[in-house]
């Protein structure tokens, strides 16, 4: 940029800093953000650390296995009760829910998986039933295999697991709940509807130790009655019905970093007012004529103005988001948000920095958007009302809109920019952080483009 552009930026910076109310307005934006963020952080709490860490519920057809050996079965059929319904063979320390295990299993939609101890999850082929599955135990190593014909076996994965000499081995069926999110004004309820999985097995055998009789039972508490779950055998074919999930539960899905910045929604109103007035006050008093007489290249004037309001807001925004983060975290800790469910986070952690700096960028882009809208409308009240409506109305309506509509609004309107402060992905995540900020940047660029085009052709 040329030296002359530097003059313009300097002139616009002088204009900004010499109106006390505008400087005060940004200080108010910082204050609102920090104080309200801290206030919101101080209410509410979590019991995530006292909640169970794993889910371990399924129907198990098993017999004891001692020492090294293997368990084999052919899954001849599986009902598609859920994308993640499971049917397969398992070696488990005991029938106690939550005890260590290793399993190879097939799902209706997610192929073959080798899973162990609520931690290991290795994908195999994309095959569905019918197919053969096998687990072998050799010392502490358990290896999972799959096969189309029972003769040629492909290893899917292995895991080292310290299990007692005698374990339980056999076939199992599980089928998770379907998560249902219901939204009404005033709240969101997340509920689960249990599903019943059913699969048929044949050619089942356990080698290692004495041959024994098959036993079967629900592991963990079933959502279904014992009439519904169960296993029947007829001529070597087992039909097994089971429900539940074998998984490590996510402990607490609150985005504590994003939730540090709840006050930004209020601070942004002050930013909108200041950024709009920075341009509309010139139109209101005819000062724009003095400005354009001093600098006839009007587009450059608007760009210089955008640069100044953007940079100034960025600096103020940085103070606001960093302050909000630093003051909110102790409140969260006091309310039970502690490790292990909620590990401590620090200002200079990567995701935190992205949220803090990104939040400041969000406010800076919002200021540029406001300036552009102000230049197009040339009226303070209209521009401020429009912008506040764009940012506040979705916040109010969000809980009342159908989820897909709410997510759509969160993706395609300037509100998407708020996503830059999100650090987790949940069912209500509308858009990823950087694309979200990109949407806002797009709107800001569009508004500035229209403003420059208009200011060039209209009489001042």
């Amino acid at each position: 940029m040329s030296d002359r552009f530097g003059h313009l930026v300097r002139a616009e910076w002088t204009k900004f800093r010499s109106v006390r109310r505008w400087v005060l307005g940004l200080l108010i934006a910082i204050g609102l953000t920090v104080v309200l963020s801290t206030l919101f952080a101080s209410v509410g709490g979590t019991d995530a650390n006292s909640a169970p860490a794993v889910a371990d519920r399924f129907h198990f057809v098993h017999q004891p296995m001692t020492g090294d050996g293997s368990v084999v079965a052919r899954v001849s059929g599986q009902e598609p009760s859920h994308d993640w319904a499971k049917a397969g063979v398992m070696i488990k320390q005991s029938t106690a829910s939550g005890s260590p295990y290793a399993a190879i299993l097939v799902t209706p939609r997610n192929g073959v998986r080798f899973q162990a101890d609520f931690r290991t999850d290795i994908g195999g082929s994309g095959r569905t039933a019918p197919l053969w599955l096998k687990l072998t135990r050799s010392g502490t190593t358990i290896t999972g295999y799959e096969s189309a014909d029972g003769t040629t076996w492909t290893e899917v994965g292995s895991v080292s697991l310290s299990l007692p000499q005698t374990v339980e081995a056999g076939m199992f069926v599980a089928s998770p709940e379907i998560v249902e999110i219901q939204r009404q004004f005033g709240g969101t309820s997340i509920g689960g509807r249990p599903t019943l999985g059913r699969a048929t097995f044949d050619n089942a055998s356990v080698s290692g130790g004495e041959p024994a009789k098959w036993q079967h039972e629900d592991i963990g508490a079933s959502m279904f009655t014992s009439d519904e779950t169960g296993a029947t055998e007829s001529g070597g074919t087992f039909t097994v019905s089971g429900s539940g999930e074998i998984i490590r539960l996510q402990q607490g899905d609150d985005d504590l970093i994003f939730n540090s910045f709840t006050g930004v929604v209020f601070g942004l109103m002050a930013v909108i007012v200041v950024a709009v007035l920075f341009i509309t006050s010139e139109f209101k008093r005819g000062m724009i004529r003095t400005t354009f007489a001093a600098s006839p290249r009007r587009g450059r004037v608007l760009v210089a103005k955008a640069l100044v309001i953007g940079l100034v807001t960025f600096v103020a925004g940085l103070a606001a988001t960093a302050g909000a983060f630093l003051l909110s975290q102790p409140q969260f800790r006091a309310n039970g948000y502690r490790p292990p469910a909620y590990p401590y986070v620090h200002l200079f952690d990567g995701v935190v920095m992205r949220a803090v700096v990104g939040g400041a960028l969000f406010l800076a882009l919002l200021a540029v958007l406001s300036l552009g809208i102000g230049a197009i409308l040339r009226r303070s009240a209209g521009a401020i009302a429009l912008l506040i409506a764009i940012f506040i109305v979705p916040q109010i309506l969000f809980g009342g809109l159908p989820l897909n509509v709410a997510l759509w609004v969160g993706r395609v309107t300037p509100v998407a920019g708020l996503a830059i402060m999100q650090t987790t992905k949940r069912w209500d995540t509308a858009i990823d952080p950087w694309p979200g900020l990109g949407v806002l940047a797009g709107y800001a660029a569009l508004a500035m483009g229209v403003a420059i085009w208009q200011v060039r052709r209209r009489d001042a």
Binding site: D3, R4, H7, L8, R10, A11, E12, T14, K15, S18, V19, R20, R21, S281, E282, R285, G286, M287, R289, T290, T291, F292, A293, A294, S295, P296, R297, R457, D459, A460
Partner: protein, 312 residues
């Protein structure tokens, strides 16, 4: 850069209103050019077009031979006061001049100079919101002088000034012209310009009415009228009419005579033995000349205005 303003065939309409209709004139350096016309005549529009703020529908306006929008440091070429109210009320006067200086890369030392020139030194650190109209005019003039430009334009600068301020601004305008600058000053009152302007551009309804010197305009308006004051009005009128003059009674004792020089009138009256108390060549005021010129061009012509004009 040449210190001139050249307006050529300028036409500007806003919607259905024609604000300026084929206007051409030139402002020369070293003179104060008065830009006169009734309210709504198109003075401010013309000035906005000269400053590149409004785009003309036809014609050109050049400053020193260039369109204003081509100027890269315009404040150093043209200084303008358009609207004294165009200041953010929350900004200190000094800061207002500071951003203007920055925008054109003008040294900040110049700010104190112009503040002193307009007599705002003691008020420079106050917020403009608390300024009187007169002080705002002075601040606007300071802004116009900031770049030490060879061309200056002031739109109604006298508005809101007290008598001392009016005297001050007249002196300022004269001294700026004496330095060789081209100075264009608009006013809707000719009397404000009577002792200040060298040259006059008179417009009405967006059209040029006169582009002349002050002296020539006054002479033209005065015509060869002679005012006669006599107790023998009727006899005098008869005598002068028969001598070939056009005579009009203006009141009980006064008669306006056209078509005869004063010496001839005195001779005719002397021949008839008619005494008179006054016999004077009529010298029109600039205001009268202006009224004469713009009588048909007043946008909102009212009977009162017409009556006053013909009274004089």
């Amino acid at each position: 850069m040449e210190a001139t303003i050249e307006v050529n065939g300028l036409r500007k309409r806003y919607g259905r209103t024609v604000a300026v209709d084929g206007l051409s004139f030139t402002v020369q350096p070293g003179q104060v050019t008065g830009f006169v016309g009734p309210n709504g005549a198109g003075k401010s529009t013309t000035m906005r077009v000269i400053l590149g703020l409004d785009a003309p529908d036809e014609g050109t306006a050049l400053v020193g031979g260039q369109p204003y929008r081509m100027l890269r440091v315009p404040l150093c070429h043209v200084g303008a006061l358009l609207d004294a109210g165009a200041i953010h009320p929350g900004r200190r006067a000094r800061d207002h001049l500071l951003w203007m200086a920055h925008s054109n890369g003008i040294a900040t030392a110049r700010i104190n100079e112009v503040i002193e020139m307009v007599g705002l030194t003691s008020a420079a650190r106050r917020r403009a919101g608390g300024y009187s109209l007169g002080m705002r005019q002075r601040l606007g003039i300071a802004g116009a002088l900031l770049g030490d430009p060879p061309v200056l334009m002031f739109d109604e600068p006298v508005n809101g000034l007290d008598p001392e301020g009016i005297r001050w601004i007249r002196g300022l305008l004269r001294s700026l012209a004496a330095e060789g600058r081209a100075v264009l000053v608009s006013s809707h009152l000719m009397s404000e310009l009577q002792d200040t302007a060298d040259h006059l551009v008179v417009i009405g309804r967006g059209r040029l009415i006169a582009d002349t010197t002050v002296a020539a305009l006054v002479a033209a308006a005065s015509g060869d009228r002679v005012v006669l004051r006599t107790a023998h009005r009727t006899e005098a009128m008869t005598a002068l009419a028969s001598a070939g003059a056009t005579v009009a009674a203006t009141d009980r004792e006064a008669v306006t005579v056209t078509g005869l020089p004063a010496e001839r009138i005195a001779a005719v009256l002397g021949e008839r033995g008619l005494s008179f108390s006054e016999l004077a060549a009529h010298r029109a005021t600039l205001e009268e000349a202006y009224m004469e010129l713009t009588r048909d061009a007043v946008e909102f012509n009212s009977p009162t205005v017409r009556a006053e004009a013909s009274d004089e």
